[in-house]
Symmetry: C2
Subunit: 456 residues, 2 copies
């Protein structure tokens, strides 16, 4: 029996556990699921004979270590900030580790020690980061193997609502952490490369500088820039690239309407509104508008942001009920972002039967034998229900597959890693296809940063 310890029984973990349980007999796996809530762990363990649910308090060294000592490999599905303590334990007791989170600087610092002990800490093994790395590096390595030179790489991912569950004017529901959606893009200007020039977008313009994307069978999407598109430039070996852009996908029109909140100041998370608890939704909206002895909150907002009454933007705001004088905020010492999140959760939460959808879109521009070419690779994954969501599948499956391959010594890397090597991405991308997570690659004319082919 090989013993897998999974810490954290959150949203993405169900798919992961099921993958291990389905292979428990053939692969001789024993799965221990540890969570601060024993009930959550038990729900995931079910009555599967090779699964055990335990309570783990990740802040309690003894609790952590007892569970860990006994295992052959550890999967941490905890919130990212909690990984480091688990990682240190893994180093101490000589266990491999797999996470779906970004490599923190503290995690990176362990690299030498991890390598010396012959261990592998595989991070960024989910969807974004994760499947994005693997699917991009597959095409990039392939182009390079043919002698091509990458001149453009744009990569977009979005967690969205599936078309059949898309029932509001925003074409959006919360399929993941609402807070991350509300504060998305904050903390500094977005920086990227366009045709050799660094470009910067301040937060308050981020949602007005979108790009359009077309996905066969799914129609049109838009994307706004991530804060740092250059993060993986060196890691992917793209130091000489002309265009490098990473973005977040939404349905067309979302960003323009979201910009309303940004412009009003409703997404700010750096100060507290006085008397927030007793505010109505209408009061909240009115706090960002000048006082008027005569004009309604509605007209003030329309005038301030120049929204005509027959503009769909206006209907989107009305749909959120943000002018309601009777609905109370009810949160003491709340930031604008916390109140906006509450207003949105009222309307954007998933209903029973709603399905989510993950969309990923990569563009690769390259030069081969003096000719400029382009490959577009797209992936759409739709959830099955509210447990086997697209998000849970695309995060949980690659984590599970990597874990099993490390156990089976099919992945033999050491150190603190992310999945950019062929020995990792090739078999895992292939196995993901069996779960309907597959990329469609299209060769097309190279458009550079002039997708409409405009002439001067």
């Amino acid at each position: 029996m090989r013993k897998i310890l999974v810490i954290g029984a959150g949203k993405s973990t169900a798919v992961l556990i099921k993958y291990f349980q389905d292979k428990a007999l053939t692969e001789q796996l024993h799965i221990t699921i540890g969570d601060i809530s024993l009930r959550h762990a038990e729900n995931l363990a079910g009555n599967h004979s090779n699964s055990l649910a335990i309570q783990i308090d990740v802040f309690d060294k003894t609790s952590r270590e007892n569970a860990l000592k006994n295992s052959d490999i550890v999967v941490s599905m905890l919130p990212a900030r909690f990984h480091i303590e688990v990682a240190k334990d893994c180093l101490r007791y000589g266990k491999h580790l797999v996470t779906a989170s970004y490599v923190s600087s503290e995690m990176q610092e362990l690299d030498d020690h991890v390598r010396q002990k012959g261990l592998l800490f595989m991070n960024e093994m989910g969807v974004d980061p994760g499947i994005d790395h693997m699917s991009a590096m597959k095409v990039i390595d392939n182009i390079r193997d043919q002698g091509g030179k990458i001149i453009l790489f744009e990569s977009f991912t979005g967690g969205l609502i599936a078309p059949e569950s898309d029932t509001n004017l925003w074409n959006y529901k919360f399929t993941w952490n609402p807070r991350n959606v509300v504060i998305a893009g904050q903390g500094g200007a977005a920086k990227f490369l366009q045709e050799g020039t660094y470009k910067y977008i301040p937060y308050h313009k981020l949602f007005r500088r979108t790009e359009f994307l077309e996905v066969d069978g799914y129609g049109r999407f838009e994307a706004y820039a991530n804060r740092n598109s250059l993060q993986y430039q060196s890691i992917y070996g793209l130091d000489d690239i002309l265009t490098l852009y990473r973005g977040t996908i939404r349905r067309v029109g979302f960003s323009k309407a979201w910009n309303t909140f940004v412009q009003l100041g409703m997404t700010a998370d750096d100060y507290i509104l006085s008397n927030s608890e007793n505010m109505s939704y209408r009061d909240f909206t009115n706090s960002f508008l000048a006082y008027s002895p005569t004009d309604s909150v509605e007209l003030k907002l329309r005038h301030y942001l120049k929204i005509d009454q027959d503009d769909i933007m206006w209907d989107k705001l009305l749909e959120l009920d943000m002018f309601n004088p009777d609905k109370k905020v009810g949160i003491p010492d709340a930031t604008p972002a916390q109140i906006l999140q509450k207003i949105l959760i009222d309307k954007w939460s998933l209903s029973d039967g709603d399905k989510d959808m993950i969309v990923m879109y990569h563009k690769f521009g390259y030069e081969l034998d003096g000719v400029r070419k382009q490959i577009d690779a797209t992936m759409v994954s739709t959830g099955e229900d509210q447990t086997y969501t697209a998000m849970a599948k695309t995060v949980g499956l690659p984590v599970a597959m990597a874990t099993l391959r490390i156990l089976n010594q099919q992945i033999t890397l050491t150190g603190v890693q992310i999945p950019i090597q062929k020995e990792v991405y090739d078999p895992i991308l292939k196995e993901l296809e069996a779960y309907d997570i597959r990329f469609t690659e299209i060769e097309r004319e190279y458009m550079g940063y002039n997708p409409d082919g405009v002439k001067g």
Copy 2:
């Protein structure tokens, strides 16, 4: 002889020194001027018989203490962050202290000790803060003495260029620290009270939510909100007030044009532009605009910010030469704000003979015997030359006057103070009139927060 030690020989100090020198004989004053640059100190001391220039390194304890021990009162005209060490020395050696700077929390913490020693540390004794406190409290106390209740207080100050030196389209030149102008309003939403409701303006909307002000003989001005209008609410005794707003005065049209920089992201000071040193002004402007294979930087900017070619806003941008491909930034690792500052200094620096102007405008709304009334108080002070600037006079004179009055025991307060008591503001406001710094008070109909008297 009473010995005054003035530390820091910066811009505002000339007027201050001259005030003391003019009164040196009648008031028996000896003035020691200490600065890190002996030459600066000597320039101010001149050949006046009762003046001595010395070198003081404020970071050197011995240097500080030797100068200080010998004096009867200390005036610190150093940058605000350096006051605290001088203040601690004053406490140790039992000297009064006068500054023109905001009371820092460290300074406030000394209050008990200062009081116990029977000393007075008088801060915020310049123009803003300083004359604003004094002139406001005079009217507020007067209304209260008559039994009135203050329901509205709005207070605006601006450091501007005098009409006779107003020679650019922005109606603005740098009469004080350019950096403070470039980063003005950053660091969080502006918060104020309008008719009993807290209002918030995010930074990116600050320069679009201005108010107009009319000053007899000087025409129309505008003001944008300061970050925290509520800072003095309790100190002024205005806890029940309905409207409380503090703002910065500019000529009409400045803010709308300044908003161009904010929208582009050029005022950001929280990140560094790649390769800033070798950028041209045109490159800088272009970094905030999307790449285009066909369109000019000019057209991209006009389209992005919706500026027509016959809009004066456009001429304002052209006047700054920000599309020039030949002018180089030349600053390594510069933030956008640092580069913008350089571009502006090229055009907005004072020419020989240019005069500055300080404008202050207070509105007081109150209820007396069941009737609502309003008093507007305005002050305009114009500079004489580039030494006796309006800024140097309005900062230096009240500091000097307070210093002399403390020496003469006409001010007998103790502790860490700001000038809000009648014993301070009454004689000093009166004496300032002799230097042409005077407020004009007009009683007018109470407009509340409806200055145009609009009906619903």
